[in-house]
Symmetry: C2
Subunit: 387 residues, 2 copies
């Protein structure tokens, strides 16, 4: 079975993995209680703190990003606690579900899919909470399902003013793609996953915990064992793990974080920003409408409406003809949009390639002129060369 023809991943995860990282992944495993592995845990932890721009503990969990978000919630809250959940997409919805599953009282602040959460709504609800009953604000930074980035900086400033509530943030498709200065924005709990900006395959997730978050763990009464973060913190004191970690993925993580340090945070953010601009503007030049509000585009995913064209058929054509995997719309958006991932190990060439493939397909359908296809490339090039 030819599962690897010449696949190019342009989905919001798993993202492409550099050869160096794949080579690290395929080393023979070592003992997870050995000094050699402790050295790796120390190095990856320091580099994770660098990536998060924080002095906080950053813990590595074997599991998906959902596991890390759940851990943030169940380690700091108790049954009946009041929380705000921001909801403007599939992942926002998921955190509402998790909160309810664990018996939290959810105040939902939502916004139509494709539009950003309104920070002022958070401000109002938090200001009105004079009794300080709200224990946490749970929200998604970059909404992977819609390509919208929420204004985390402003919302987190309101959470900091409230003083009692914790911020619990899904930064799965923002961390490593745009600025998430954890200490500066006073973010208490930040969750992310390996198959995104980290440029490694799925299987690891990360959670940064502020001192305020750790203090909250002392009062939390929700039951947990595998995701009990206090065990991870205790083990981290000796650069170890409470349970057998995914050793080979940690090899890959170490290599990928070194590559990221070499590139530098600023350059990583600039690269993602220019790819976002090149992708979104050239798609517009192809007469396609962006799904997300243009002032709030995620640095990692561009979601596009396909109008009369069935988005699933369109994706299939791109996959069959060019072996580029794009993501479809989720739930009610299935068939109506497709999503281009430009997150992690993405090169200018990948952007040009995706635009060319999309243009070729639209040309073959008779939806655009050669002139427009050329224009799209020109637009892309302008943004790519701007940095």
């Amino acid at each position: 079975m030819a599962i690897h023809k010449k696949l190019s991943l342009m989905i919001p995860g798993p993202t492409p993995v550099p050869e160096k990282v794949l080579q690290a992944l395929s080393k023979h495993p070592i003992g997870h209680r050995s000094k050699e592995f402790q050295t790796l845990v120390k190095s990856t932890t320091e580099n994770l703190q660098w990536l998060h721009q924080t002095q906080n503990d950053v813990l590595t969990i074997t599991g998906s990003g959902t596991a890390a978000m759940e851990a943030g919630i169940i380690n700091t809250l108790s049954k009946g606690d009041k929380v705000i959940c921001g909801e403007n997409g599939k992942f926002g919805e998921r955190w509402v579900k998790v909160a309810k599953e664990f018996g939290l009282e959810v105040i939902k602040i939502d916004s139509e899919w494709g539009t950003p959460l309104n920070p002022e709504k958070f401000k109002t609800v938090l200001k009105e909470d004079t009794k300080k009953e709200i224990k946490a604000v749970i929200l998604t930074h970059s909404e992977t399902s819609t390509g919208v980035i929420n204004d985390l900086e402003t919302i987190s400033s309101y959470i900091a003013e409230h003083d009692k509530a914790l911020s619990i943030v899904d930064c799965v498709t923002s961390l490593g793609a745009c600025n998430v200065p954890v200490d500066q924005w006073k973010l208490d709990i930040v969750a992310s996953g390996s198959q995104k900006g980290y440029m490694i395959p799925p299987g690891l997730s990360f959670i940064s915990m502020s001192e305020k978050a750790w203090a909250a763990t002392e009062k939390s009464n929700l039951p947990k064992f595998y995701l009990d973060l206090k065990s991870y913190r205790k083990s981290l004191l000796s650069n170890s793990n409470p349970y057998t970690p995914a050793v080979n993925l940690v090899f890959a993580l170490d290599e990928a974080l070194k590559m990221m340090r070499e590139e530098g945070l600023e350059n990583i953010f600039l690269r993602h920003n220019k790819h976002k601009l090149a992708m979104s503007n050239s798609l517009k030049a192809l007469n396609l409408q962006l799904f997300a509000n243009e002032n709030h585009l995620s640095p990692s995913i561009t979601a596009v409406k396909t109008g009369e064209i069935d988005a699933e058929e369109f994706r299939k054509a791109i996959k069959n003809n060019f072996d580029i995997l794009l993501a479809g719309g989720q739930d009610h958006l299935k068939g109506k949009i497709f999503r281009v991932g430009h997150l992690g190990y993405v090169h200018d060439r990948d952007i040009i390639t995706a635009i060319s493939a999309i243009s070729s397909t639209l040309l073959s359908l008779g939806n655009i002129s050669a002139q427009q296809a050329g224009k799209a490339l020109e637009v892309a090039y302008q943004y790519l060369e701007a940095n």
Copy 2:
């Protein structure tokens, strides 16, 4: 940093990984919602059922074996439920902790570390439970911390007689090493992990669920999300996963399970059995005392008392001189025993090698004669050639 000199892993996990499996691991990831990945999920699920000798669902979770055991417990039980926990080692202890964390009422049936659980004690407690209040029996098949195998066949027959209680069994170091016929023994929930008999690096765990176990999930009121097995079952209907799985570890799993099918269950069990016999008997020939009761030796791990010699110093010498990693004793056994893992991708040569390294070290310490060292090899060879 030379973390890979020429390391030989002889610990009970991570175990050595075949080159073929490492190569599968290092392939470029593919989309986890793609048809190609669905094909892989289908194939690995069928092969997992083969390995478990069952028609039950076998689910794959990204997480350690502890995550799978926790999932088995929290998906089928409710707060206040009465359970029996078998405890004769570190892992038995852990399942008691998990049960208590989730508010279960634990009846502990224990046995001194190094000795097996007495099946008759289970029989008695289960027989006395005429009101059928016991909801589950939680136990460990092969106790990795002591090298003891518990008599799961007999204990599970008593659980089956009780009829109401579920069996929830940690088969982490028994599955893929000795016979665990899930359907024949009527095992409801069986948990295992990738870095053991499966011959792949850590990061995946597996859980087999009987129809009786699924029925119990309908009544369970413990909160869960990431480890909610009903989501996994639902996704498995379309050969998919509820959350992003560790795609590359699934590539490795697929390859390893194919290798296992090629070798055949009987041959795998015979190989582990002869390695157990060769290892334990040659260590005895070196005047070392086995830690575990000799009639109940695990097929995967041999634990050895070192008497006057500090076991940790002994392990270090073997590591420094021969780059063979042995496992130490845990908790109160630290410094008193070492443990040789012979689980997974282990060849006759590895057994001879470990024995030679141990013999050389004992010779250098003046603890044995050359005659004894030679005798140990002779004994090993007898067992190895017997099959």
